[in-house]
Symmetry: C2
Subunit: 889 residues, 2 copies
């Protein structure tokens, strides 16, 4: 092996045997995470500030990197440096590694620069063998401890290093427990454990065809190599991918003198947090077990005790621990998650790190620590993950009840929160029943016709459609819980039945179900919900975020109620009002349908005249709510066939109402049918073929604006032309808008400060933004459609292949949830730059679903957009994410 290395050494100067690959704890500090890993750096730091840490040293992440570069062989010089440090450690501990008189045992633990809890390997009690175990017995006079330590070592080393399945060891352990008729490990005596050691060794030989290694140094090298190897085990790779951990060199290896929590009842081990990680309360929190090693606390066979009990059991150690946790929190300026061991009454800290916490705790701890002058506002803001706020804004299923509940299906977590109600299978029934009952609307998929039914339901469950399906988008807009694309459920609307074959469950109308829109889970029956709490700390943190962010936050809202909610959450304008959502209620839909069925312009204008007062009243409502703030109104966007009824009964009703032949309606429906409606006759294509539609909408907007302005309300309409791909389209619609707007302002003798702009949602628009900016005063990136067209993914159909794509790592994330920065983002960046080249003060925003997603918001900040717009319930998340983006960039 050394020969090979020498060969490599000639070629690659980085295989420098003089490179320092091992640092004793005294040589490191907390800022050396990249080199020593998080655990190693913090062990060094604790050593440096006088915390009782068992002495030891760290093999660098760089050494791990070289190991892989060197075709999985130790880099030259590593063994020598390890041996050197072992010697120092032996001196320090006044013992010898493998020494038959005073043996040194070691722990060997992984630790990368980023925390990857439980992903990589650890070996404790290394250095023990048939000779050493006897010495241990002689020295400690604790035969049980010695054999317990030995059997633990074989079990861990056999599993982690030699690849004997963990389960096989468990079987052996269970056999001996059964033989002894005992339940707990601690009930086994020294002889039992000695027998177990023998059995374990036979097991290892049988499985691996190799004897268990007796030589401590061989054990050590094998353990180091195993830890290196664990860096690239599948679960570690998956974890890094999932958590976007990139750019790391490898794992460090921490080698430390063992301290023993299993030396009897005055020994023990535990885990504690400097504050409550669940509530954030500034109160010491933790668990411990006496006469145990680390793995026993998590194994769950014995129930650990609450840390407060230690105060009674060993007040001295408890007080020391409190002192240490205070010192560490003050030192690291964050809530600490610590591991400790008590060896015969003496306290050792084995690890400290910043503790994971719930969203509620994150907010409270961040704000408290600013109040305690421990951290500044910027740090506090960065301590709270924007996405996590979602938990705080919606109802949740009571966590305790959820554990015992009957999970019947899992769909996509389409709109967060939780909902309980009785099943209904259509929108009309939802409307009817919702007057006296809480209902859940269950549909194969929803369409705009279901809008009112959705609004009166507690939650929505669909069998089809993705995270950006109609159901999902509308539900998020309403802040209503939704589980979409739940493929396992089969809906028989006619017979009012819902079947889940896999679970042998059949539910009928009015049966109760409970939805968790944050996880996609569907439960049978009625689970208790807990209300969201918006604490004062939350509001304070939001205000701090506002001080730092550069991006404005707007909301997507179509009705005054949503606008009000969003404004309460801090929205600074409406970034997207979808006017078509206004056309579905009551008489409106009739007039809309009459317009669509018109065979000439005169009939069409007649029907549009009926719609005008409705639209105007809607805009008056929105403008009032948003007094002083801009309101971006998108002109009619969806294809007209979406407004026509599909069911025979409805068609007949419509025919009756309009006094026409039902066949005629069917014929028009057929004529309007499109193969790919997404790429069809919609958006500005409607306004260009039927300018009278644009005229009516502009009239409604401007009349509303003029009337309110006369009453002293500050109205800032921004009229947005959808689906523009070529500047000529915008020119065409702009002429119509300007003509009508001019006429209305003249009629009212009022000047409204309005803007005309366009969606950038067709790739061609992004590619020719320089030209389009000649006509547009603002761009709003419609990244939903832009993603559909740039990727060629219909969001309604993506469910057929996206799961396979995610599984095969073709996409990391659903590109409709997280902006595809390389593809779609490239177009956004190009359009932003070229748009500004033409019109330096052009206003740039985003109104796709990505406007509420933190990584996408950071992208928007980086390319210099002016605002993001998102659904009302994501406004706080966007505010915080925008602050993060500003602070990070």
């Amino acid at each position: 092996m050394v020969k090979n290395m020498k060969k490599n050494d000639v070629k690659e100067s980085k295989f420098d045997s003089k490179m320092k690959m091992v640092y004793s704890f005294e040589e490191g500090n907390k800022d050396m995470k990249n080199l020593l890993g998080g655990k190693g750096a913090n062990l060094a730091e604790m050593t440096r500030i006088g915390i009782p840490v068992p002495p030891g040293f760290t093999i660098t992440t760089e050494a791990c990197h070289l190991y892989y570069e060197n075709n999985k062989k130790f880099p030259i010089g590593l063994k020598e440096q390890v041996d050197e440090n072992i010697k120092i450690l032996e001196n320090k501990m006044n013992s010898g590694f493998g020494d038959v008189k005073n043996p040194l045992l070691l722990s060997v633990r992984s630790g990368a620069a980023s925390s990857m809890p439980g992903m990589m390997d650890t070996i404790l009690n290394l250095g023990i063998n048939d000779t050493v175990v006897q010495t241990l017995i002689n020295k400690t006079k604790n035969e049980r401890f010695a054999w317990d330590t030995y059997r633990r070592f074989i079990q861990m080393f056999g599993d982690v290093v030699m690849g004997v399945p963990h389960h096989d060891f468990e079987v052996e352990l269970q056999k001996i427990k059964d033989k002894r008729k005992v339940h707990l490990d601690t009930e086994l005596n020294a002889a039992d454990l000695k027998e177990l050691v023998k059995n374990y060794k036979s097991l290892v030989l049988k499985v691996t065809k190799k004897s268990f290694p007796e030589d401590p140094r061989t054990q050590l090298y094998m353990a180091i190599e195993a830890v290196f190897g664990s860096w690239n085990n599948p679960r570690a790779i998956a974890y890094r991918k999932l958590n976007d951990i990139t750019g790391l060199k490898g794992t460090a290896v921490n080698i430390q003198a063992m301290v023993f929590g299993n030396m009897g009842e005055s020994s023990g081990t535990g885990v504690c947090f400097s504050r409550n990680p669940s509530t954030g309360e500034n109160k010491f929190y933790g668990e411990y077990l006496m006469n145990a090693q680390g793995e026993d606390v998590v194994a769950g066979i014995r129930t650990p005790k609450h840390i407060e009990e230690l105060q009674k059991q060993n007040p001295q150690v408890y007080n020391q621990l409190v002192e240490i946790k205070n010192k560490l929190e003050n030192h690291f300026k964050d809530m600490q998650d610590m591991e400790f061991t008590i060896q015969e009454g003496k306290l050792y800290i084995l690890q400290t790190r910043n503790g994971k916490r719930t969203a509620q705790a994150a907010v409270k701890i961040a704000v408290d620590m600013v109040n305690e002058k421990l951290i500044d506002k910027k740090t506090a803001i960065l301590r709270v993950q924007p996405e996590s706020l979602d938990q705080l804004l919606h109802k949740q299923i009571d966590p305790e009840s959820k554990k015992k509940a009957s999970l019947i299906a899992i769909g996509l977590p389409a709109s967060p929160g939780a909902a309980v109600g009785r099943i209904v299978f259509n929108a009309a029934r939802a409307e009817e029943l919702s007057k006296k009952e809480k209902v859940i609307l269950v549909r194969t998929e929803t369409s705009p016709e279901d809008l009112i039914g959705m609004s009166v339901s507690q939650g929505i469950l669909t069998a089809r459609g993705g995270m950006t399906s109609h159901a999902a988008v509308v539900a998020r807009g309403m802040g209503k819980c939704c589980v979409s694309g739940c493929q396992d459920i089969n809906i028989d609307e006619k017979n009012k039945k819902l079947t889940i074959k896999k679970k042998n469950v059949v539910l009928k109308e009015l049966d109760y179900i409970t939805l968790d829109g944050s996880s996609g889970e569907v439960f049978n029956g009625k689970l208790p919900l807990v209300d969201p709490k918006l604490s004062g700390d939350f509001i304070k943190l939001m205000k701090w975020a506002d001080e730092f962010r550069k991006l404005k936050i707007r909301t997507n809202a179509d009705i005054p109620r949503d606008a009000r909610v969003a404004r309460e959450f801090g929205a600074e304008g409406i970034g997207l009002c979808r006017t078509e959502h206004m056309f579905f209620e009551g008489d409106r839909i009739l007039a809309m349908r009459q317009m669509i069925l018109a065979t000439n312009e005169i009939e069409r204008r007649k029907a549009l005249a009926k719609l005008l007062p409705y639209q105007k009243a809607d805009f008056i409502g929105l403008f009032k709510e948003m007094n002083g703030l801009p309101v971006t109104i998108r002109l009619l966007d969806p294809p007209l066939h979406e407004f026509l009824p599909k069911e025979k009964k409805e068609i007949e009703e419509l025919a009756k109402a309009l006094k026409v032949d039902p066949k005629w309606i069917a014929q028009i429906s057929e004529a309007l049918h499109e193969v790919n409606p997404m790429l069809g006759h919609r958006g500005c294509r409607l306004g260009i073929t039927y300018p009278e539609i644009t005229e009516m909408q502009v009239q409604a907007i401007m009349e509303a604006a003029c009337e309110l302005k006369k009453k002293g309300i500050d109205v800032k309409p921004e009229i947005m032309v959808p689906l523009v791909g070529k500047v000529e389209e915008l020119k065409n619609q702009k002429a119509v808008i300007q003509k009508v707007a001019g006429e209305i302002m003249k009629k009212y003798n009022v000047k409204i400060d309005y803007m005309i702009g366009t969606m950038i949602e067709v790739p061609r628009a992004a590619l020719t933004a320089d030209e389009i900016a000649q006509e547009a005063e603002f761009f709003s990136f419609g990244t939903n459609d832009l993603t559909q067209m740039t990727l060629g993914f219909s969001r309604d159909d993506i469910g057929k292949f996206l799961p396979e794509y995610l599984k095969n790592n073709i996409y990391d994330k659903d590109p409709f949830a997280v902006l595809d920065q390389k593809g779609v983002g490239q177009l956004v960046k190009m359009a932003a730059e070229n748009g500004r080249k033409t019109r330096s003060n052009i206003k740039l925003g985003i109104c796709g679903e990505h406007g509420g997603e933190p990584s996408s918001i950071e992208f928007c900040h980086r390319v210099g957009l002016n605002y993001v717009s998102c659904s009302p319930y994501r406004v706080p998340i966007a505010r915080l994410a925008a602050a993060h983006a500003a602070l990070k960039n």
Copy 2:
């Protein structure tokens, strides 16, 4: 007015009164077209080389430009320069403009740098008035001539300059003819014409409330202004748009001494061509009328005589004309289109220009002129418009019969050629009847199920779908005539009836219709067709084109027959073989459907195994035809639901054949349904979710290749993965392909030199071409889909708004026919550049419909693609277009 101009003069230095705005014919030459217009430059050139041209001068296009710049007022100095030149002309002609003794009459004619025949205005006989007419009578002793000239002038000036409707003059003329009971103008005598002059003047006064201007100079200025004005009349603007004429400054104005063809029977006028513009035959060709002015020849009241008759009537003039046409053709080195006038036996040439010609004539003339050493090969190539070759490759309706035929509807010219046959309304009936009858398949729209029906029909007529609809694409591939999107026809398939309400026409099954796929016309009944002729000249010209072009030309072909046709037309490989077209015949579709209905991989593999031998046999056929040339095979692309039957009867048949419940088929169909299939589960998404499909296809390709190679056939397969948007997709499929290909080559012990590449048809692929080129050995731009996604236009649905878009000048051309260079082209260019940056030798081609369209081919040449691929019948067009591109760039 002069005051105003002075004011402008101060501001704008270009209003320089010293600028030369008028050139006498002696001052110009043929290379001054931009300044003098085509007519003016050629008049000057003819003057220069001694052709008898009536003297005159030209007002520059620059003067016209200044006229518009100067808010439609004459630029300073223009009148003075005109007056000066009039003086010179008076001297030359020994007469005076408005002179009562020896009056000079003028013609005032427009003429831009590009020929815009008939689009702009002309005034003849200018300078005549009540006094001058008397002088003319005295001088010529020809009273009839004098009054005829006067009435002609009032009629033309009144119409063109003063805006009196042409029709009103016709009414007056008719009145007097009726009164005299004569039929021809020439039958009116001097007194009649004198009376007509009086009546015309009253008419002008009545309509315009102004007297007809008597002052010749006023007449002249008004005429010049009218010609300037005609530059921007709507039809001239439309003509320039239609013919892509841009960058011109305006029209020139040619002012010339009048010569009179209406001075009696020794005078006359005519139009002639130096060669036959219809056949290209090198034979003098033309028409003339004695005692007439130019407009009489085209008016059609008197039938002009063939030019050969002039030889008998006036051999001297005839011989002089022949001499002149020879001189002009030799001088301009192109077939000339000339106007001449004979004034009392003396010949004058009024105009010469390069003559318009049919495609057949263009080819013959170009090749003849090279043989005559008049032009070189490059010039010959550029003389033939690539698009025009289409006429030569397909049957045409006999032009004479067409004139008298009953046109019942006009659709889109989806696939050129002509077809006659009996109407059938479905594919099955087409198959059945085609055995004894020629049939035309008439459908609302076609689908892949209609494939065989289409192949046995003479032509296809659809009521829906654009130029790139299924019907259009397939028909072009088959070289079969197709009229698509014929909105006026209403098809009642059930009752086997076709109704055209507008024309009150109802046709039944087996009635005859005739289609013209080159014009989109549909005729009632059976019209005679004429066969295409591929002359030796054509083949010669094609070979010359091949010498100059840089682009390779491939073809889109799915079956051996198409491949053979394309190879005969000069295709250098297959650029696109759509494997799905192979799945529709006979038992294949059954196996295909079995595969789709499979519920697990094992069943799917069973069905695929049945398809394997068919695919393999198909590839053997194609590879044999293309021996030595590359064959690009696209893996399965369309969504699976396209292969399932839709009609109840067919579903039942399938259920019976597969021994399953029809409900089950309906359920699968329903589950496969997509909202936007274009953006759905298709392309490589199929191969990724069902790798066994890719495996079967690669097995078929490689087994075919190996077997043929063993027989000494040179096979060059290029396996193409469709719809890639992200390099990971290609990586995934490449792994499958390489694995199977390796296994097959090992099995046969043959090494096949194959390539793996991808379509670039998703915008994201173009945007990330640098990454994709890491895996792809070639890119083929699928500009059909790339256009759909970049523009957001579904080609199946574009008919709903494209007509309005073209009408409103939002798009100039259907972007599916002519590549949108600014939008889609930008992506192509970007991908070509970035692809080459990653892999310098990457092979780049295009296989969308644009690959056969000349302006798009020029674009492909400019961005440096290696080849274009088009349907077999467009291969010659592409060869010539590629040569044009190379010679022009």
